[in-house]
Amino acid sequence: MSDQPQALEGLRVLSFGAFVAGNTAGLLLAELGAEVVKIEARERPEVLRTPAYAIGPAVTEPSGAPQTVMYGTLSRGTKSLSIDLRKEAARPVFRALAREADVVIENFAGPTLTRWGCGFEDLSAHNPRLVWLSLSGYGRDGPWANYLAYATNISGYMGLTSLWGHAHGTFPDYVTGTTGALAVLGALAEVARTGQGAYLDVAQIDAMAQLMTPVLLDPLVNGREAAGGENVVPGSWLAGVYPALGRDAWVAVELEDAEDWSVLCRVLGCPELEAGPRAPTADHRGRLDAALASWVAERTAHTAAHLLQKAGLAAGPVQEPEDVWRDPQLWARGFPVRLLNPDYGPLHYPGSVLRLNRSPGRIRGSGPRLGQHTHAILRDWIGASEADLASLSASGAIFQAPGEPTVEDEGTR
């Protein structure tokens, strides 16, 4: 499979992207074939490498750098360049790399790179085609420019937590990183047309406001609060989550229209609950809801969902991680990919969602060791000599992990 072309072959990305959002943007570009170089200083490895974020045991790379599954999965398919921009000697090296790059990704808390003479204006002066992706919580402008936020803060600020009764833990991060990758591809289309790069300011509040569209509309237009309530779906005929046989097992069911309602009445053997073409009253809905609840309670979640689907209805088990792991649909499509990480061993990761049939998204390996590709990238991108590498290493400006880079493509779909 690895002889298939990739959509973004030849594209070079330098990424300071950290945490879920920053890594997700680079990960998507890497899946599509871009050479994504993740930058970390040896003294300041990405926070996700630290034991607080460990899934399974926290491990250590031969260089002593910490490594975790969370880091390995969020940086899968990327390369690692260890350069420390706090050191004066490192900055001209980075600026030289940026002249060869198509994209820079960062989600620093503030204008850190500008202070080092490595901001967008410094770099685009020498590379006008450069696309700069800046990811942040509240945005890079406005009264709260550069204010700090995790996904839960965004969920709370935007009203989702109040409305839903819960906070999104990481979802806004995935949405923001993915919107960032989209913005990069949009900007690259403009670069192809005009040769002009772009500064992309992608805030979590921007990206999430789009996905929250349905709940923003009443407050925006009608001046009233969004309609809330647990498992209420505005406009649907019935929506609910019903307890099934077994402990903490549930089935989600939604009826979209009169036809669905009638089908469910037949499945449940309740002709007296038929409704006709008009949406049912709350009382009528309550009776079908109760009948469905009794029916589900006598079956396992998977069986109940299966029978409702057989009848043509939208229904599914509320899957927990074990269900997801055993999910036949995921395995039939070869979605989980097994990759060998030299430090914590083989593990299954999600594959690429970007299933293009002639240039498929691919996961080219688990996350790199810190500094694994430093020398190779400096040689390849800017022709660094052995003497350059030695002096930069001696000053602590760069760090090369011991040993040769491991082969790419250890696991592919």
Binding site: F171, T179, A183, P214, V221
Partner: protein, 409 residues
């Protein structure tokens, strides 16, 4: 960073990255955000609706006092920047027109389902004979075009349950709870748009191709579900359990609530600075998050008392200045009025026939130069039938009338 590049959209006439790109959208709700973004980037998106109207036209909320096919605010928001035609794309009689539409297209976006079939689509041989080989086909479906679940029916509500994101959400004594809206479908739509842009980028080298996006895969790729289970044989989270170390969470102040994230070592110091370094919390061992967790029941009362007499926005500004990720806890209505959301230009006024002037969420990001452009409101039902079928595809008005009479358009 100077003001010029802090993300304020430049005022100059926007470029159109996808100028000249034609997209034919044959999906329903599942593809609405995907094609909206392509339209925002400058593509000419033709949305094909059933003659009775896209089901989203009857989805609430509506503008107060407005009825009919143009009243849905959801439709108005998700279909801005698109043109619209009607065609019953599920019947074989539609094949000639589908084929003509596809011949003009660079990208065709589809979502065949049992409930809303697509003419010329066969689940056993998932291809579309009426799409020319040079075009990019984006299939956005709940489970993908292959596999045992490929034809299962779903909604955003059911997809959220299936995808593993719902089980740990809810009160400890209640059912799992779905997130409002169609967030997971829109998230998969983003992947569809990314794949379409990547395929267009590669088209000179690779030619046309098919992108098969599964909402279910997009959902299960998040939150380390697969990796964590493989690594630990676990990963089940209890409903209602919080994440992070104390004092992460919600604290009530005099005039509202402040939410605090205390995930890193320095956040605790920032939290103390926000509260003027109170003596009650000065014990150095509290720097250790594990110690704080142990001691938290006793600390909770102290912190609650220190916060209760303060103003939310005052603490918020002090906390942010000290480096503490925090936010005022807002309702949706408070958020849409907030100066930060306003200054980002997240909402824009649109005037649409049959609806009037309304303010809708629109802009997905800011940039210099500005890459996203709002050119037109969502189409009225069949608004561009004449423009597309007669002016562009060369049919006569009589033909169009005949198709109308038979219910084809």
């Amino acid at each position: 960073m100077t003001v010029a590049h802090t993300g304020t959209d430049s005022k100059a006439a926007p470029p159109r990255p996808l100028g000249g790109v034609r997209v034919v959208d044959l999906t329903g709700a599942i593809g609405a955000y995907c094609t909206r973004i392509l339209a925002d980037l400058g593509a000419d998106v033709v949305k094909v609706e059933p003659p009775a109207g896209d089901p989203m036209r009857s989805r609430p909320p509506f503008k107060r006092g407005v009825m009919g096919p143009e009243a849905s605010l959801v439709f108005a928001a998700y279909h801005a920047n698109k043109r619209g035609v009607t065609l019953d794309a599920g019947v074989d009689a539609a094949l000639p027109l589908l084929s003509e539409l596809a011949a003009t297209a660079d990208v065709v976006v589809v979502s065949p389902t049992r409930k809303a079939p697509l003419a010329g689509f066969d689940w056993d041989e998932p291809s579309l004979s009426w799409v020319p080989g040079g075009a990019v086909v984006v299939a956005l479906t709940p489970f993908g075009l292959s596999g045992p679940f490929r034809e299962l029916r779903s909604t955003p509500f059911v997809s959220f349950a299936f995808g593993g994101g719902m089980h740990h959400i809810g009160r400890p004594d209640g059912p799992p709870v779905a997130v409002p809206g169609q967030q997971l479908w829109d998230y998969a739509g983003l992947a569809g748009a990314i794949g379409a842009l990547a395929a267009l980028h590669a088209r000179p080298r690779v030619g046309g191709q098919v992108l098969d996006v599964s909402v279910h895969e997009a959902a299960t790729a998040m939150d380390f579900l697969i990796e964590r289970y493989d690594a630990e044989g676990a990963g089940r989270r209890n409903r209602g359990a919080g994440i992070g170390y104390p004092p992460t969470g919600t604290w009530w102040c005099e005039d509202g609530a402040l939410e605090v994230s205390c995930h890193q070592q320095h956040h605790w110091q920032a939290f103390l600075h926000m509260l003027d370094d109170p003596d009650e919390l000065s014990e150095p061992s509290l720097n250790d998050p594990l110690v704080r967790r142990e001691a938290f029941e006793g600390l909770r009362e102290v912190i609650a008392r220190l916060m209760a007499s303060r103003k939310v926005l005052d603490l918020f500004e002090r906390g942010q200045a000290a480096g503490l990720p925090c936010n005022p806890l807002y309702s949706v209505a408070q958020f849409v009025r907030d100066p930060q959301a306003r200054s980002r230009g997240l909402f824009v006024e649109m005037t649409k026939a049959g609806l009037g002037t309304v303010e809708l969420p629109w802009k997905s990001f800011s940039s210099t130069p500005r890459l996203l452009e709002l050119r037109r409101p969502a189409p009225s039902l069949g608004e561009h039938n004449v423009e597309v079928f007669v002016d562009e595809l060369g049919h006569t008005r009589d033909e169009l009338e005949r198709w109308r009479a038979t219910g084809l358009v």
